[in-house]
């Protein structure tokens, strides 16, 4: 078992290895010491005497919280799970690292602030030039900035405040970490511009990146590295990353990082949200809406037409109290679609997430209907994208039962969706119809009217016959 551990640990490199043993995740050696110190859990040892192995463990059902704390402290955690069901005859179950949890890729719902983005930044630099790419693993949003000076790159990190930074050059690691306030910085060798471009084109399914306006080699390298890192750590294709948006600071009102702090746009001096500009204007009803509002405030527009288009929409809604309430009513039923899509994409989703998606999509047609009545073009134009996933909504409605159980409990599929499943379900539940048929057949065969087929855990299925009728029982 320890040999298996060492193999996994070699793959995990400097990540703390959470090694699944039955109902626990165990950490060994130095990992155990670090975890014991940060988490305040007991450090024990596996063997005695010379062979003592320091060990610390957490129950698997509570692991998420412990992982989140270690990651918040700037560590990375490798989750090594049992890939087979342990059973008699199996000496050693197969174990594999299923994902690496890092500060910038921790998409666990409970560890995330619903209204704040989770940025992973990648900084590619060469010859004094640099470009930043930002990836929100929880929603799949990928942004790239054009190439600029190193100072501009550090400014962007300061403005955005990513949790984790990847840099292509060890020399800027410390500066990048300091500017961003990230809990972790990692120096990696980035793909070269050509490799990066191929990689992005393949992932996004496009023949050229021009459509996204992504041209600067360093920007391409940075965007590719952020995406590659997400794929590697999550052992997933990250299909929720469907495009890359290029942001030109010159096309926005550029707010100096000092001013963001000074004006208390998003956080007060105590780090809290109360008493900030955001807290005054944020009356959003959904988490995605909350995050989008922060993004709008952080990057106001300079294009007059775009500004006026937004103003028209705000003006129309500000004058229509009833319409506002109707829209609000629909939005209250909308969950965080971006993030539940993110969880599904990195393989951490559950049937509950599918149900959440269904519930959200159910609101969309009515929401679209309200918005399409408006005269402001920005509001009207929201209609088509809101209506687009109607077929998927219908599929989920057919496939899922009304109250989907939490976690990975079975029984979320609606009867009638898949006949083969219905059959197995019927059978698994004791095959009531089959039993009833068998019971009738046995009654006729033996002529014992009180004959009953029963089930208990010790005997399994059996035929119960009262003593009075025993003489009627045939040989078989």
């Amino acid at each position: 078992m320890l040999r298996q551990y060492h193999e996994a640990k070699a793959q995990a490199r400097d990540a703390l290895l959470f090694f699944r043993l039955g109902d626990f995740y165990e950490l060994f050696y130095e990992d155990a010491r670090i975890a014991a110190q940060i988490l305040g859990i007991t450090l024990t040892s596996r063997a005695k005497g010379e062979d003592r192995v320091p060990m610390a463990g957490v129950p698997h059902h509570a692991a998420k919280g412990y992982v989140a704390r270690l990651v918040a402290a700037g560590h990375t955690v490798a989750i090594c799970d049992q890939m087979e069901v342990p059973g008699p005859g199996k000496q050693l179950v197969r174990r594999e690292i299923v994902r690496l949890v890092t500060p910038g890729t921790l998409v666990d719902e409970e560890a995330l602030e619903a209204r704040e983005p989770l940025w992973l930044a990648a900084v590619a630099c060469a010859e004094g030039r640099a470009a930043v790419a930002l990836l929100d693993a929880s929603t799949g949003e990928l942004r790239a900035l054009p190439e600029g000076s190193m100072e501009e790159a550090l400014d962007e990190l300061a403005r955005v405040g990513p949790r984790e930074v990847l840099v292509s050059d060890e020399q800027i690691s410390a500066a990048a970490r300091q500017a961003s306030g990230a809990v972790r910085a990692e120096t990696r060798s980035f793909r070269d511009a050509e490799g990066a471009e191929q990689f992005l084109k393949r992932h996004l399914g496009v023949a050229t990146l021009d459509g996204f306006g992504l041209r600067d080699p360093l920007s391409i390298e940075a965007a590719a590295e952020a995406l590659a890192y997400l794929q590697e750590t999550q052992r997933s294709a990250a299909k929720h990353v469907v495009r890359v948006a290029v942001e030109h600071p010159a096309r926005q009102l550029w707010i100096d990082p000092g001013a963001v702090q000074n004006l208390e746009l998003f956080r007060g001096p105590d780090g809290r949200r109360s008493g900030t500009l955001l807290s005054v204007v944020d009356r959003t009803l959904t988490a995605s809406g909350g995050r989008l509002l922060s993004r709008w405030l952080a990057a106001p527009l300079i294009d007059l037409t775009a500004i006026r288009t937004r103003q028209d929409a705000v003006e129309e809604l500000s004058q229509a109290a009833v319409l506002r309430e109707e829209i609000a009513e629909r939005l209250r039923g909308v969950l965080d679609v971006e993030r539940l899509l993110g969880r599904l994409a990195v393989g951490q989703g559950t049937p509950r997430d599918l149900a959440g998606l269904r519930a959200s999509l159910r609101e969309m047609p009515a929401l679209a209907g309200r918005l399409e009545q408006c005269s402001a073009s920005l509001l009207r134009d929201l209609g088509p994208p809101l209506r687009a996933p109607a077929a998927l909504a219908e599929l989920l409605q057919r496939a899922l039962i009304d109250e989907v159980p939490a976690g990975r409990e079975p029984g979320f599929v609606r009867p009638g969706f898949r006949p083969d499943l219905d059959e197995l379900t019927e059978l698994a539940q004791g095959g009531r119809a089959a039993i009833a048929a068998m019971e009738t057949a046995e009654k006729q065969r033996t002529g014992i009217q009180s004959l009953k087929i029963r089930y208990n855990k010790i005997f399994g299925f059996y035929i119960e016959i009262t003593k009075a009728n025993l003489h009627l029982v045939p040989q078989d």
């Binding site: 009102l253 100096d256 000074n262 005054v280 709008w296 129309e316 939005l331």
Partner: protein, 377 residues
């Protein structure tokens, strides 16, 4: 009542099927989940667009609610270079006042345009300079976000960059390194600002001694006015800076209205044209509970200063009545410029060679440069 149990071959078969059905059912459900998951992911792009549309509706609705409930107005945003705000309020402070019931927020008017690029805002500490300036920046941010703004009327000529520099109250206590940070930030602003930018500078030069601070504040304000031409709000407690506005065509003096009632200072929190004739520092100190004897001595020194101002060497006649001891205004001594700058105007190279950089503070260097430049002009 007695009974016996029997098992038939058919029943055993059935039992085996039930048990394996349990396993197969789990596997099939997992497979169905994966299929549904793939079906969802296949539409990632459409779903993201849908989620984003809902988020946009949510944001626009939020801005509309605030506009309707808080009585904000739609600002005119254009490509002119004015910022005109009538009856502007600070959204956060206004809400805090409303919630605590501490009286209504006093709205203010601010106008920056082609003729008024630099506003020198004077007035005592606590008079509301910072709030008045910040609300201009916040209104610009809100306007360009597409939101309505807390004002009776507003016009915002599009801003390309927004900078603020606010001297922290404890700059002085934290010493020169903080002053370096302050100057580095100022340098950055001077380099990066454009005529379309909006600058909020609050108490620049506070992190160093009075004279250094005043000299730098003046030089920075002058540079912004002459070279950068950005729309600038410059708050200072150095009322000497008002002379700058008198000298420069596109600079204006505004001040926070203050009145005295029975020797006590009352802040009206209203911006009015003109300059603060005095800083009311002593009155503010009284509000803060400084002993009467200290306040009296303070008034005495103030009278000396106001009577004699500065002598030709730039030294205050502060010590009058206190013997021959020279006053030390700064926390750290800056040697007089004459000590290391030869007077010969043509000899700038010699002067440069003679400069011992290992013994020169950044402040010395800046003053030295300033001196040399003056000679050359």
């Amino acid at each position: 009542m007695g009974a016996e149990r029997f098992v038939t071959a058919g029943l055993s078969d059935h039992e085996a099927r039930v048990l394996s059905a349990e396993e197969r059912r789990g596997a099939l459900e997992q497979q169905i989940f994966d299929e549904l998951r793939q079906a969802v992911l296949a539409q990632s792009a459409g779903l993201r667009a849908c989620a984003e549309a809902a988020a946009q509706a949510d944001v626009l609705l939020s801005l509309a609610k605030v506009a309707a409930d808080a009585g904000w107005v739609r600002p005119i945003v254009d490509d002119g270079d004015a910022i005109e705000i009538a009856g502007g309020r600070h959204p956060v402070v206004e809400r805090a006042l409303a919630q605590s019931g501490d009286g209504p927020f006093v709205p203010n008017d601010v106008e920056l345009d082609a003729q008024r690029r630099l506003i020198v805002l004077t007035g005592p500490n606590m008079a509301g300079k910072s709030t008045a300036m910040r609300q201009v920046a916040l209104i610009a941010v809100l306007a360009q976000t597409g939101s309505f703004v807390p004002a009776a009327r507003a016009r915002v000529g599009v801003v390309d960059r927004l900078f603020t520099r606010v001297g922290a109250a404890d700059d002085l206590a934290r010493g020169q390194s903080t002053f370096m940070v302050e100057m580095a930030e100022c340098a950055r602003i001077l380099h990066q600002a454009t005529p379309r930018s909006l600058l909020i500078l609050d108490e620049v030069g506070r992190g160093t001694s009075t004279f250094d601070g005043l000299a730098l504040a003046w030089a920075i304000a002058e540079h912004l006015h002459d070279q950068v031409g950005a729309r600038t709000l410059f708050a200072t407690h150095y009322h000497e800076l008002c002379d700058l506005a008198r000298e420069k065509v596109r600079a204006v003096n505004l001040t926070m209205a203050v009145t005295e009632v029975e020797g006590r200072v009352v802040f009206l929190r209203k911006i009015v044209p003109g300059a603060a004739s005095r800083s009311y520092g002593i009155q503010v100190a009284r509000l803060a509970g400084l002993p009467e004897s200290v306040l009296r001595r303070g008034r005495e020194i103030l009278a000396n200063l106001e009577a004699q101002e500065l002598d030709e060497a730039g030294r205050p006649a502060l010590a009058a009545g206190r013997g021959k001891r020279r006053a030390q205004l700064g926390l750290f001594d800056a040697p007089a410029a004459a000590e290391f700058a030869p007077a010969k105007p043509a000899a700038i190279e010699d002067a440069l060679r003679a400069l011992d950089l290992s013994r020169t503070t950044p402040m010395d260097a800046l003053l030295w440069l300033h001196e040399q430049q003056k000679k050359l002009r």
